[in-house]
Symmetry: C2
Subunit: 270 residues, 2 copies
């Protein structure tokens, strides 16, 4: 009736830290290539990423479609890095990697380098951050990396260097339980980056726009389009810090309980 | 070249509170029918929900496909309730409703009643909760409702009564800024429900399972399957409270910054 596929990949070496790499821009994106290459300098790397772009899928998981795994080769000086494309979301990649494709628990999971920053409210939409959150939920120290650019020809060299520096730091230390890091890197030359700052999410809101059109049969449809308005220019926010030429690192939690609000809600007469 | 579709719906009355209703099980699900009917007793209701089931899509939004809007009629004693099915995610529904389809800001947004509880870590996967979060981000008091059942023939009458009670309470009061409520209701007769308790998310972890199979061409694929393990049986958690026969209300925030961790991270030598 059914038979399990062979394990597409076995991790054999135990000498170096095992680093799982994913993203939401898809396995063919330049950002994941730069990230995998940087991680290859400090650990044993396995790349398990969506076959196609999955931006803004948030913490979506695939329940009603089968998931396919296709081997991928980055070629050139990266051809030794095992890589697989997954027909699913960034969270699917993490779940499938951790529970099916890898034969030992990674020491670190990294996601990115995303084309585009993930500051302020964008944290809740970002597939890049959701992937890192998913591995964090599974007890693995995790970092999401995003480059503040809209340029499809952006240079990921400076951000990859910072990704390596941050990954080494996390490997040597240990993140508090329940906390995942989100790093946002300005898209400027390396010698212009002023350093790293620990930040919080800026308050912000999308100004939503939908473009209404009609198809050739005169039936209406909408395209989503929006613009992020930052409502908070304090010095300690992710967006201010990145705009100022620093790498921002925001510690994020996945417990969404508004603990500070529980006592207030208890005073309501239910 | 392009022309905007006519507004499919105008809200005209200003006498009653305007209540926007959505879900992630799709507009044909029994839970949204029960919720819309309950809200109809206390306000002017508009239903804008996904055309098809969108469970576990989290905070996914549609960027690369056009979104269609199809009018829906619940029929019978609900035929006066304006309703639209959207070819998108729960978050798309909220964005499109608030910024395109409604002509005034709703006084309340409600999501559900979901078939299945959304306790513990499930908060991050739930489209039901993401929809309520999205409207909360947009400054509207919002509540997600979930029934702790797997029964497709479940009776939504008791949970709809509690949804009405909670909605009335929120309409009379005001939620703290940045906070959205998630209510989980036990699937038991109304006279066995013991009351309402304010809770926090239980610590938990999915025990992930992927079922590996081969298609008729002998190519492998995976189905996701998992089991939620609750790791926390404290009396103040959502799962404990629902298991004990109470309605749980958890206040959730969408700022994911781990504020308590910022000072620790600053001590790391970056």
């Amino acid at each position: 009736m059914s038979s399990a596929p062979e394990q597409p990949y076995l991790v054999q070496s135990r000498r170096k830290p095992l680093i799982l790499v994913t993203n939401d821009d898809g396995i063919h994106a330049p950002g994941i290539r730069a990230l995998a290459k940087a991680m290859d300098e400090i650990g044993e790397v396995v790349v398990i990423a969506p076959s196609t772009e999955q931006s803004a899928v948030g913490h979506s998981i695939t329940l009603y479609s089968p998931i396919r795994v296709v081997e991928h080769n980055f070629g050139g000086d990266m051809s030794h890095i095992p890589a697989m494309g997954i027909t699913g979301t960034p969270c699917d990649c993490m779940k499938l990697a951790l529970h099916e494709l890898l034969h030992r628990k990674p020491d670190l999971a990294v996601s990115g380098i995303n084309k585009g920053s993930n500051v302020a409210i964008n944290v809740i939409y970002s597939g890049t951050i959701s992937a890192a959150t998913e591995s964090s939920v599974n007890g693995i120290d995790s970092v999401a990396f995003s480059l503040d650019t809209t340029d499809i020809n952006a240079d990921y060299t400076p951000s990859a260097k910072y990704a390596k520096l941050i990954a080494e730091k996390v490997l040597r230390s240990q993140l508090p339980r329940g906390v995942v890091l989100s790093a946002n890197i300005p898209d400027i030359p390396e010698d212009e980056i002023k350093g790293i700052k620990i930040t919080r999410q800026a308050r912000s809101q999308w100004e939503e726009v939908f473009v209404g059109r009609r198809d050739p049969s005169n039936k209406p449809y909408y395209w989503y389009r929006g613009m992020l308005n930052i409502l908070d220019d304090s010095e300690d926010t992710d967006s201010t810090v990145v705009d100022g030429g620093y790498v921002s690192i925001t510690p994020l939690q996945y417990d969404r309980t508004a603990h500070g609000c529980i006592d207030v809600m208890k005073t309501w007469k239910w």
